[in-house]
């Protein structure tokens, strides 16, 4: 469903080239999940932006379905680190922004998504009036509003307290299982990668190269954190990162 082949991304001019990502390849099927984990500033976000079509790779390619990604696509949703909410738009207008941009507004399912995410009674509020957890849920609502086939997430739960983070991780997992989109997550949190990624790719320091891969096929149940398989994955990831 989403496939990267020898993805390489350079910044700057040809004289002062800065390589952010080098030779990353992977293949992910429909409704599967993949987590990239690596140190802060290693180029994870750049890699995700290339998958979303925001950045054109210097070398290699990204394909979604059978089509090469040449720019942002209407069936790919990106959730940013701080949810990417626009402070001047209400919850309702933030949640519907992708639809407005696509010319599909108003969507029949927008209200249902807000209700499902517990935002039905705050839709006329502005982001500044919401808790951090609620802001992330609005970001999720926006992503889901377009019924994406691929959901890309850039450290979506960074700077949240542990309890809120776990609640929203549970929400991600439930939505992923129910809706069947392909999930690609970028994080520096080992437990988050182990909880959400069926396949986990460990990246090196900049430029981001593939350092190792950990398979984690048992992902799915909400009580997965309490299982031995989860502990094994966390241990394997820790070893891979320290290697």
């Amino acid at each position: 469903m989403i496939e990267a082949d020898d993805l390489t991304i350079d910044y700057g001019s040809s004289k002062r080239k800065l390589r952010a990502v080098e030779g990353v390849s992977f293949r992910l099927g429909q409704s599967e999940s993949l987590a990239f984990i690596g140190p802060s500033g290693c180029g994870k976000t750049t890699l995700l932006f290339a998958l979303s079509g925001l950045i054109t790779p210097s070398k290699g390619s990204v394909k979604i379905g059978k089509k090469k990604v040449a720019g942002p696509r209407r069936d790919v949703a990106l959730i940013l680190q701080n949810a990417g909410l626009l402070p001047w738009k209400t919850v309702w207008h933030n949640a519907n922004l992708s639809l407005v941009l696509a010319g599909d507004y108003p969507a029949r399912n927008a209200q249902d998504i807000l209700e499902e995410l517990g935002l039905g009674n705050v839709k006329s509020r502005f982001p500044a009036e919401l808790s951090e957890g609620m802001k992330r849920r609005v970001g999720i609502a926006r992503a889901l509003s377009i019924s994406p086939s691929v959901l890309l997430m850039d450290e979506p739960l960074a700077s949240l307290d542990t309890l809120t983070r776990e609640k929203i991780q549970d929400l991600f997992l439930t939505l992923w299982k129910d809706r069947g989109f392909t999930l690609v997550l970028v994080t520096h949190d080992i437990e988050e990668a182990a909880f959400l990624g069926q396949e986990i790719i460990v990246l090196t320091e900049k430029p981001a190269r593939i350092k190792g891969r950990v398979s984690n096929r048992e992902v799915g149940p909400l009580d997965y954190r309490q299982s031995e398989a989860f502990d094994r994955t966390v241990k394997a990831l820790r070893e891979e990162l320290e290697r």
Binding site: F49, S52, L54, G71, P72, R73, R74, A77, L78, L80, Q81, N82, G84, L85, L86, P87, W88, K89, L97, S98, V100, L101, A102, R125, F126, P127, A128, E129, R142, I146
Partner: protein, 250 residues
């Protein structure tokens, strides 16, 4: 309501300071050099009809100049601030033309276009244009990257980026520059109106009575201050409506 009370208290305090200054200056000079607020207010009442005509003429010129400056400067400032290639080409022109003292252009404009109302509006509009242009450009340059990525990743086209991000994000800065521009605009309007022969406008009213009939001239100055106050309050109300998100409880 509380805000209105604060405004009233501030105005009363200002009038009190004016009265004290008037008594002190007139005592030192042993003559009536500076009229007090009571004398000026009496003249406002006595010359209400005449003052109203001058007030409306000045207000119309100032509001027209502000609208012209906004319509011309905001789109240009936002494009220069956001599009790097345009910025590279246009910014040097701004750096060269902005520091030219616009007051030097007044006589030139009068010579070319005459001393009518349109020239006075043009002078104030030019002054405000540069202020708003520089503010809009700066605000557009400093937009949080995440807001842009947020709409670009959803497939926004260029127009949608301006419509949903750049314009709303920069609106508070633009309104602040308009607020600053009101003071400067009134000052330039005064200069433009006093530089012509008899005509409508608070500037010419003040000039006419400053030497012989200072009470009346100060009534005109009060009217000019009132014009500024009305516009400031107007911009505040506009900001509360257009930028409601800035005033929510956090």
């Amino acid at each position: 309501m509380k805000q209105v009370l604060i405004y009233i208290c501030s105005i009363i305090f200002l009038l009190f300071l004016w009265e004290v200054a008037s008594i002190a200056i007139n005592t030192i000079n042993s003559s009536s050099v500076l009229p007090g607020p009571y004398e000026a207010l009496s003249q406002v009442v006595k010359n209400g009809a005449e003052l109203q005509r001058h007030f409306l003429a000045s207000a119309w010129r100032l509001v027209m100049a502000m609208l012209i400056a906004l319509v011309a400067a905001v789109p240009l400032g936002l494009v220069i601030g956001h599009e790097r290639s345009v910025d590279t080409f246009v910014s040097p022109m701004i750096y060269i033309t902005y520091p030219i003292p616009q007051v030097a252009l007044i006589l030139f404009l009068f010579l070319i276009f005459g001393t009518g109302s349109a020239t006075k509006v043009a002078i104030v509009a030019i002054v405000l244009f540069f202020q708003i242009l520089v503010s809009a450009r700066g605000a557009a340059k400093n937009i949080t990257e995440e807001y842009l990525v947020s709409v670009l990743s959803a497939g926004a086209n260029r127009w949608q980026v301006y419509r949903h991000v750049i314009f709303p994000a920069t609106l508070p800065s633009i309104l602040t520059s308009v607020r600053v521009g009101i003071g400067v605009g009134i000052a330039f309007l005064y200069i433009a109106e006093t530089n012509t022969a008899q005509g409508l406008g608070l500037g010419s009213f003040i000039k006419r009575y400053m030497l012989f009939g200072r009470d009346r001239a100060f009534a005109g100055i009060m009217a000019m201050a009132f014009l500024g106050l009305v516009l400031y309050v107007g911009i505040d109300i506009l900001e509360r409506i257009l930028c409601r998100w800035k005033y929510v409880k956090r």
